[in-house]
Amino acid sequence: MIRIQARVEQSTLMKIASPILAIILTLIFSSVLFSTLGKDPIQAMHVLLIAPLSDLYNIGEMFVKMGPLLLCAVGLSLCYRANLWNIGAEGQLLMGALGGGAAALALIDSTSIFALPIAILCGVVSGMVWAAFPTYLKLKFNSNLILTTIMFNYIALYLLLWAVHGPLRDPDGYGFPESALFSDAVTLPVLFEDGRIHLGIVLAIISAFAAWILLNKSHIGFQIRVFGEDEPAARYAGFNGKKLSWTVMLIAGGLAGLAGVAEVTGPIGQLIPSISPGYGYSAIIVAYLGRLHPLGALLSATFMAVLYMGGDLAQIEIGVPTAVVGMFQGVLLFFLLACDFFIRYRLTFISNQPIQE
């Protein structure tokens, strides 16, 4: 007889094993799905997971996708640790791109070495501002953070569309909804000769380590964790919840803004209507898959970037729509949430005799 039993303490092993198990289950699920669609599952797996890492160019592209995912996910990990449900990374990223892009366009004739830092700073600040609105509304008026951040995502998207159709459109662009190309002075340096790996990716990796130190080694990080895990205890201990909320939300907004400005001053090189293929939303899954741990996000962002690459390749090579990636992300999160059950519970096989302890 199998029985479900509550564990006395949470299982550390399952905390680590659960994401791996979830990935394996997702792969099994997708193999079955591909088979039913009449595709060879082994070929499909190869295209999705192996091909993206098969040559240097693809690996480079994988890193290009990992950068924004990681930056957003590190910020979201901090927010979720503080029990602040910020779903607004997408909007903060778009505003970072818009703010930074506008600055880059204003500096288009500049040759100053400060031009790029200024553009990046503008992007970071724009992201922070976009995170500040919902944070203020939550703390001042107690409005629901999930819903406000979602709404600000839509508003950011339409602001971007308005900008590239209107004030920031390239006057010489034949009416296309795109800005002018940024000049070299406001373009992120590329790390290697060929390929598009840029400085932003290094910043992303640094941010993951910095967030790890903040969360696990600093007193404020401890306060963030207590605040998120058990708000009455944080209040009892006298931690300043408002200050902590502002801290994590502004960090998350800044990082997402950095991701946005790094996209437009890096691989894209101008403002266009479709800057992000939903990085801000995928980052939610990256954060979860990484156990809301900044260094875990490093691993899961890599996996998610591979999946994104794989999705692009799958469309070209086996004619599966790229939308399949979005579906896999959802399935992955489902499996992860299901596997997490075993962090708190275990299955025991028992005979009908009562156990004597």
Binding site: M151, F152, G330, D340
Partner: protein
């Protein structure tokens, strides 16, 4: 503004508000039982695409609606299992449902993007539609709008006047007490979540079979989220949900109104209106924290695990 234009605007506000009304009616029951399902957008998109596919392949919009309701319920069952049986976090699971539904709907609908079908036709109710002004606004709609009127009345009646409504309210307020007096909390919540799923599916079908009528990726553009705000705005009361839905409908067609009045504002800026309105409304509503706490189902979003009783 003349009466003709005004009645045209109000007619469109009802038409545009109907999907919001349908999905919010489902969500309000779900929330009254204490469960917050953030997967509305995903369930709605799946309802839209499956409804369209079913209608497109069978030629029957009725089958389309049925298919949409069934897929909505099925989607909500995944959520219900994870949340009720595995004790997963309601917020995270709801988000997963939305991400999954968004991806899956785009995937299964990729072949029919841009195809059109013959959607529901307006049914002009004799006599009633001849009432000046109001007749035009209320009684010249398609079948699903009339269904939404009936459903609003039904949900309101069940929630406030029946034993079922009492049980749902009890479970949403205090699941532990409900369990202790022998109410099957999980069963009630399963049914409430599935009702929400079915309504979300129906609402999606309205989008793809009546409103547009076609399938486009992400065509619900945040309506599932707006509906969640609407339930809070309405303080979990059906009458106010109806009012709110039509107000949001009005906000969504504002660009048409303004264009009609000869103003020229970027359509991209006007498209922000419903979202900005949602934020503004939420701020106004939740600023009275005390009242919101008083009206909200007490156990909303909190997990209940009968295994930990005892």
């Amino acid at each position: 503004m003349d009466a003709e234009l005004l009645s045209q605007i109000l007619f469109s506000a009802i038409k545009t508000g109907t999907p919001l009304l349908l999905i919010a009616l489902g969500e309000v029951i779900c929330e009254k039982s204490g469960v917050l399902n953030l997967g509305q957008e995903g369930m709605m998109l799946m309802g839209a695409v499956v409804g369209f596919l079913a209608a497109y392949s069978s030629g029957s919009v009725g089958l389309g609606v049925l298919g949409a309701i069934i897929i909505g319920m099925f989607m909500s069952l995944i959520f219900a299992f994870l949340v009720l049986h595995l004790g997963a976090n309601q917020v995270a699971t709801g988000l997963a449902l939305t991400i999954f539904g968004t991806g899956l709907s785009a995937f299964v609908g990729s072949d029919v993007v841009g195809q059109t079908i013959q959607g529901f036709q307006p049914i002009i109710i004799p006599v009633l539609s001849d009432i000046p002004f109001i007749g035009r606004i209320l009684f010249t709609h398609d079948l699903l709008v009339y269904v939404s009127f009936a459903l609003a009345a039904l949900v309101s009646y069940v929630a406030t006047k029946t034993r079922i409504g009492l049980i749902i309210k009890a479970v949403g307020e205090n699941p532990h007490a409900a369990n202790a007096i022998g109410i099957k909390v999980l069963k009630v919540r399963y049914l409430a979540i599935m009702f929400g799923g079915g309504m979300a599916g129906l609402s999606g079908a309205y989008m793809s079979l009546v409103y547009t009528p076609m399938w486009i990726e992400n065509m619900t553009s945040g309506r599932g989220w707006i509906a969640l705000a609407l339930v809070v705005f309405a303080s979990w009361r059906v009458g106010r949900i109806m009012l709110g839905a039509y107000l949001f409908g009005l906000a969504s067609i504002m660009h048409l109104v303004l264009q009609g009045m000869g103003w020229s504002i970027s359509p991209n800026l006007l498209a922000m209106l419903p979202y900005v309105a949602t934020v503004v409304v939420m701020v106004i509503i939740s600023a009275d924290h005390f009242k919101e706490k008083l009206l909200a189902p007490r156990s909303l979003g909190k997990p209940f695990d009968p295994r930990q009783m005892a």
